[in-house]
């Protein structure tokens, strides 16, 4: 199990929870598990998210491995110029 920290703007979609515990070995599995736990998270995930694993920001990849016990933050997808 890994704990996923959400940005505070998402709390209204998770019944006030800012940390969601899910079973996931990859970034893709993590997003699926988040939606299973809280279906309303589908909208922000569709709008675009990045996932920080131990501080390393995974911008888009769904196949990145998530080591057990990692620090995981869901972030809004980054855009650049």
């Amino acid at each position: 199990m890994v704990e996923v920290h959400l940005w505070s703007g998402l709390r209204s979609l998770t019944g006030g929870h800012h940390v969601v515990e899910v079973e996931a070995k990859t970034t893709g599995e993590l997003l699926v598990a988040l939606v299973q736990a809280h279906p309303q998270l589908q909208a922000p995930i569709d709008a675009g998210v990045s996932i920080a694993i131990n501080g390393r920001v995974i911008a888009t990849g769904l196949t990145e491995p998530i080591p057990e016990g990692s620090e995981i933050y869901l972030m809004q997808r980054l855009r650049g110029g």
């Binding site: 505070s8 909208a43 922000p44 501080g55 390393r56 911008a59 888009t60 620090e71 650049g80």
Partner: protein, 751 residues
């Protein structure tokens, strides 16, 4: 991406060879967007709305169609009708709506029709024959006014899930993040300062206007030549907007005369293709400067409230910011990025940031170097400067005391890996500039800045020639010297001279998909792909050498451009140079190439610290920047001259944004200053020599340690200059640009 092959000693990387595109550019041989023509070519021109907000009742093009020189006219009806849905298709819809207006013209300059004629003059004349009946609607161009209850609604239903109930429909995205308890933190502070700040929209100001040549047949096959930061996104977007298959459109990127984020989308490209499809002839479209200003992406304007609490020893006890950004008549203003970047340089226990994306009747904002970050830094770093002044603290010491470092919980959530902010601040403190005395009337400003950087989808191919030279094909348009950097990285791996490697920006039919040159990703991601592609080729070179020597391939290694036996048991053979292997490669297994395709996910974040001295003339309000020093973490500078150029360019553009550049709208919602005479970007005589210090704290996510450098350099200047000007003038400047009238008004208000 796991990296087990980190390198820290270099032969080619870190040197400063001549740029490979230098001769082409100084002799005029380089082909930019407008430098192309085709047999039978027509010229396109675009009719634009004179109204900030108007319903298009009727378009009558019959007189223009009857003109003998006119070969095609297009309106919105000539584009694919992509249904509006959130996500990727939603943005396609927004781009289509921007490329050619649908039911409403949404800003002054919005395209409503286009003509292809036998000459550029005939096309422009024909525009006058098109009659458009408008029903003019109320408009709003100011971000704060666009959020008020009585503001005209630009598009109903554009808000997404994130917007709290009860907000105006023009508020289309909302972001909130942070950690700790800011109220408790403010209560713990010895001094709390809360203030409001405003920045105006500025244009990226690239010297080359948008230009393209499109050819599209009724068989759905097309060719497009254009100036762009990303020809694959141009391919994908044009194909979607025209209802053709992506792979049937081949897009070639011209040389690019500046982009800075503004050429990461399409404007005239689908229009040229639609005209070509109708006329069955190639169509060239070149924007005027006025069109560039009126109808291509400026940055967002911003209205911001920042509150910071500080202890007497300089410790920040709490920080809070509300950032409202308008992004024109479409969703997309980077209020979320402003919020996430604003406090990122600092190690904070209590922080809260809120960002709004607000629509108004202005052109669709486009990215501009670290989109959203400079505005937030301006507000935050101004308040920190004021706190330092009031508490009598040194501004570099205070930033060092609060600086984020490896292990800090970032204001946007995660824990930082190895970062280089402290090193930039220490370099600032040690720099002679920081200790230099100021003359009367001068002020000094400090600011830090942060940007995320990006990886993105990347493909690279490298092919060796029989004579031992190499050609490298990348898919990221060269906006900052990347051909030189790629050649250096390939040279480092192959062990052949920089001059023996030719780097080409390949077209969309020649290479796999590549994301846009944005997010400071090119030296990082295309560089990583180049290193991997070169290593792929080296593996094959080692295989050929092993076969020639009759030893196992794992008994061969690559050193200084040669295959050499690896270890004492591999046999005694003389080193075999690359050119000896490629000389007969056709008969020893075939051509030798290397490839790499991936989405690298290890772009390291980066920080910079700027020191600025400014002098204010109290009689005229004119500001002179007298000294400027940029210090930034590059991870590893591949070609230091280009890195320094990026640092200086960020500072130069920041000086323009801080002091003079702004979109000025009249009461009628029309842009008042759509030429360079009225929209003043800095020229050489406005700028001091900009000194640079490259800090190198390697990025753990890149084989050579590279961090992107293109964007971070524009984050600190607005704040650093504002702090210098405020300290020189003795009054806090809260609105950009700090043009002479605003300085005079501030001095007057201050008595």
């Amino acid at each position: 991406m796991a990296l087990d092959d980190r390198k820290s000693d270099f032969t080619f990387v870190g040197t400063r060879p001549n740029r490979p595109d230098g001769l082409d550019k100084v002799t005029g041989r380089a082909k930019f967007g407008a430098d192309i023509s085709a047999p039978g070519m027509l010229h396109g021109a675009v009719l634009r709305s004179p109204h900030a907000h108007a319903r298009i009742v009727k378009i009558d093009a019959s007189k223009a169609e009857a003109h003998k020189d006119v070969k095609a006219i297009v309106t919105r009806a000539d584009f694919a009708d992509v249904p509006f849905r959130p996500g990727l298709e939603g943005e396609f819809y927004n781009v289509l709506e921007n490329v050619m207006a649908g039911e409403k013209a949404l800003y002054d300059g919005h395209a409503v029709a286009a003509v292809a004629a036998t000459s550029a003059l005939a096309a422009r004349d024909a525009l006058k024959l098109i009659e458009v009946e408008y029903e003019v609607l109320p408009h709003v161009t100011d971000v704060d006014k666009a959020m008020t209850p009585d503001a005209p609604v630009i598009r109903e239903g554009a808000a997404d899930y994130s917007v709290p109930e009860g907000m105006h429909p023009n508020v289309v995205r909302y972001h909130e993040s942070g950690h700790g308890d800011v109220e408790a933190g403010f209560a713990d502070a010895d001094l709390v300062i809360e203030d409001s700040f405003v920045t105006e929209a500025t244009h990226q100001g690239y010297i080359e206007p948008h230009a393209c040549l499109g050819m599209l047949g009724n068989d759905g096959k097309g060719e497009l030549w254009c100036t762009t930061q990303g020809h694959w996104i141009a391919q994908k977007t044009c194909a979607a907007l025209l209802g053709i298959e992506t792979s049937q459109l081949r897009v070639t990127a011209s040389e690019i005369g500046g982009g800075f984020g503004g050429k990461t989308t399409v404007f005239i490209e689908p229009v040229a293709l639609a005209l070509s499809r109708k006329a069955n002839r190639p169509v060239k479209v070149v924007m005027t400067r006025s069109e560039v200003f009126r109808a291509t992406g400026p940055t967002s304007s911003a209205s911001m409230d920042v509150k910071i609490g500080m202890k007497k020893d300089g410790t920040i006890s709490a920080a809070q910011g509300v950032f409202r950004l308008q992004g024109g008549a479409f969703p997309g203003a980077p209020g979320d990025m402003t919020a996430m970047c604003a406090f990122a340089p600092y190690n904070l226990n209590n922080v809260k940031q809120i960002g709004y994306d607000v629509m108004s009747n202005r052109p669709k904002q486009a990215a501009y170097r670290a989109p959203g970050a400079p505005m937030g830094a301006f507000a935050v770093e101004s308040v920190i400067d004021e706190l330092c002044n009031k508490l009598g603290l040194d501004p570099v010491d205070v930033r060092l005391k609060n600086a984020a470092h490896e292990g800090t919980k970032a204001s946007y959530g995660p824990t930082y890996e190895r970062i280089g902010l402290v090193e930039t601040l220490e370099a600032a403190k040690a720099h002679p500039h920081y200790a230099a005395p100021l003359k009367p009337g001068q002020g000094r400003g400090i600011s830090c800045g942060f940007w995320f950087n990006h990886g993105g989808e990347t493909s690279v191919s490298l092919a060796l020639s029989e004579d031992g030279s190499a050609q490298l094909m990348v898919g990221t348009p060269d906006i900052g010297g990347s051909r030189a950097s790629m050649a250096l990285m390939a040279a480092e791996v192959l062990g052949i001279a920089y001059e023996n490697i030719r780097v080409t920006v390949a077209d969309t039919a020649t290479l796999g998909y590549n994301d846009v040159s944005h997010g400071s990703r090119v030296t990082y991601a295309s560089g990583l792909a180049t290193i991997k592609a070169a290593k792929h080729a080296v593996e094959k070179l080692c295989e050929r050498a092993a076969a020639k020597w009759g030893i196992p391939v794992d008994a061969v290694k690559w050193e200084n451009g040669c295959a050499v036996p690896s270890g004492p048991n591999a046999g005694d053979f003389d080193p075999m140079p690359l050119a000896d292997i490629t000389a007969d490669m056709g008969s020893t297994g075939g051509p030798i190439s290397g490839h790499f395709e991936a989405t690298p996910e290890g772009a390291g974040v980066s920080f910079g610290t700027h020191i600025v001295d400014a002098e204010v003339d109290p009689e005229t309000g004119k500001t002179s920047v007298t000294r400027y020093t940029v210090i930034q973490d590059a991870g590893k500078a591949i070609h230091p001259t280009y890195v320094e150029g990026q640092f200086q360019g960020g500072a130069a553009q920041g000086i323009g944004w801080a002091l003079n550049e702004e979109y000025v709208y009249g009461e009628d919602g029309r842009l008042q200053n759509s030429i360079f005479l009225d929209y003043r970007i800095p020229v050489a005589s406005d700028l001091p020599m900009i000194d640079t210090v490259i800090v190198e704290v390697p990025n753990p996510g890149h084989p050579f340690g590279v961090r992107g450098v293109g964007e971070t350099g524009i984050v600190p200047p607005l704040a650093a200059i504002a702090n210098a000007v405020s300290n020189a003038a003795g009054v806090r400047m809260k609105q950009l640009p700090m043009s002479p009238p605003r300085i005079l008004a501030a001095l007057k208000d201050n008595g």
